[in-house]
Symmetry: C2
Subunit: 376 residues, 2 copies
């Protein structure tokens, strides 16, 4: 329970407070050096051995294990220096009100050390790993360190957004033509305000093409839905936006993906977070999200046998692994996964076009939502 | 010259006229059948042997070679049937004012033939190839057949767009926060109107992260620029939008990519079209586009030696092939390509962060544009 409270505080933390956290950490290290103590940097241990599924909150979380790095250990010294460089640069961004992509951080910090031929960073994996260490050390997400990954994803529907850092632009995402709003990499509350929505739910869609279909059919207006396309695996900015609309506007989230291991994985990540980001589930996860389809029952119900695809060996193996995932330990998902493994088939969203182009918008989705035919 | 005139007519062709073209073609085939003549479908021959670089217009074009397919040839019969199915379905879309993704076309048309176990289409490559045949047969682009590929790309800047098919939504792409407008897959004039722009030029950017950097720096407003990010290779909708803004608003196009074979290829395709789409250059290409960077001269001019990356063998091989491309037959590109091959290095856009985050927006781009330091 303590963890939940801590994370609620985290959501409201300001850039100034995060900068202070970084400075306090760095001051501690300076003091250690002044006192001739071997300086040590501490962060949360990641990886499978410290990841837990929190049954109560139904999200992945990190356990209590920590890991530390000593400057006076020859195996740690370079990484220690790199972590301090990233900490210092991030502190600059926060105090100067700048943001940067993680690739820019790498390039900004890369240089040759003194007269040696030694580089500060050899490639981006090195700076990325420091960023992850830092996020876990000060218990926040990179977006709150003013860093970001690449954006991806599109928003459409009756929802009014304000960008406080861009002339307080206010726009409604149902009035941008059929293209919609290109979701930014950073959706932090001090920058992006979700002002108002008249929608009843959020429909998250795996493929851009299905998103375009639903826009063309006027689905959002007829059904009072917000449409968000992820374009495959959801980017962090898109997950953050889904999380925030869900939390702030109390709207249910329905996920519409292909019926295959990749689609189920996209669902899993939006719903309860990913292994790699287990510490950040409170910022990103939506444990109440429901899965609307595609399912193998759809194949029978709508006579789609002719437009299924064969699962590849790798897909079948993934599906078998998923049988053991804690969040799929319920009879509905066990039945779904077993059926897929037995039949060795997958079904795409766009296969619904086999009925008719408008079938998905006029019948499939409205019927499922009305009857609450979801997988948990 | 005849070809140019024909293509100018093509640009203004209406859905009704295209539908009539399809019907005329199909009526011809029906008549052949009624007259007991072996029906034949004719289209332009594609592939390297029929692709030419038109020196005068500086775009790739298709030559005059045609290819035909006979129904009473056992090797052609199935493809003939498939082409007729796609033609008929496309005609439906045009007359019913519907559009579809090419994957939806595949799924819509896939079924078992009669009581046999034979499918109309086995996979999407078969229907895609019919779509390409049809585009070339009636001399248009798939967008004018109401078909489309997946969308990708973002628009930002002082440009006002109207979506005529979506409540005549009118919006300015500088007022959508920092996210910008998600570019649709279809940018045909009867649907999307480019109403007004106060910009002086279009800057096309390879990476989403650099696009976000320039937005954050307020580059578009300070420099009166429209920013378009392609997110890698430009999607058709994005190419069409660049082509249309350039042509209709008489704005120059500057391309800003990584300095490597992939970046140069992105530039090539936007500028003079691609091998696969040689017949459609008049709809998509921008032969006057200029290349602003990154270049290997930048590496020296700005002391970026420390943030170059080694080119892989495959990249070096690609660069060597590019030496022979007709559109790189000028001293500037020959020098650039030879330098890359000799030094075996590449330089990314984001490497400019090594100077400072705002360097690209405050110095690099404005200076290059002012001094017209472009590659042709």
């Amino acid at each position: 329970m303590a963890k939940t409270v801590k994370n609620k505080e985290n959501e409201k933390i300001t850039p100034k407070q995060i900068a202070l956290k970084l400075k306090t950490m760095a001051d501690g290290i300076t003091k250690q050096i002044d006192s001739k103590i071997d300086p040590v940097f501490t962060t949360q241990q990641r990886g499978r051995s410290n990841v837990e599924f929190d049954e109560k909150r139904r999200v992945l979380t990190l356990g209590d294990k920590v890991t530390s790095r000593n400057f006076l250990n020859i195996g740690h010294a370079k990484k220690f220096m790199q972590t301090m460089m990233v900490t210092s640069k991030t502190h600059d961004y926060l105090t100067q009100n700048k943001t940067a992509s993680i690739r820019e951080v790498y390039y900004e910090l890369k240089h040759t050390l003194g007269k040696s031929k030694e580089n500060t960073f050899e490639d981006q994996t090195e700076s990325d790993s420091c960023i992850v260490d830092l996020e876990h050390s000060v218990d926040t997400i990179r977006e709150k360190l003013n860093l970001h990954a690449n954006p991806k994803g599109t928003l459409y529907g009756d929802i009014t957004i304000i960008d406080r850092k861009h002339n307080s632009d206010e726009f409604n995402a149902s009035k941008l033509g059929r293209g919609g709003w290109s979701i930014m990499s950073r959706i932090e509350p001090e920058e992006i305000e979700i002002k108002k929505t008249n929608a009843d739910y959020i429909l998250v869609i795996e493929t851009e093409a299905m998103y375009e279909r639903l826009v063309e059919e006027g689905f959002a207006k007829k059904n009072k839905a917000i449409l968000i396309s992820t374009g495959g695996q959801a980017a962090r900015g898109t997950r953050r936006l889904i999380h925030r609309i869900h939390t702030e506007k109390k709207l249910p989230v329905y996920m519409f993906t292909d019926g295959d291991p990749y689609g189920w994985y996209i669902y899993s990540v939006v719903k309860q977070g990913s292994m790699a980001l287990a510490a950040h589930s409170d910022f990103l996860a939506v444990p109440d999200a429901k899965y609307i389809g595609m399912t193998l029952e759809d194949v029978e119900d709508f006579g789609l046998q002719n437009v299924t695809e064969k699962m590849k060996e790798g897909d079948i193996k993934r599906a078998k692994e998923m049988l053991d995932y804690p969040w799929f330990q319920n009879k509905e998902w066990q039945a779904e996964l077993k059926k897929a493994i037995q039949l060795k088939i997958r079904i795409e969203q766009q296969a619904l076009a086999n009925k008719s182009l408008s079938f998905v918008a006029d019948e499939y989705l409205p019927k499922k939502i009305k009857k609450k035919e979801f997988l948990p």
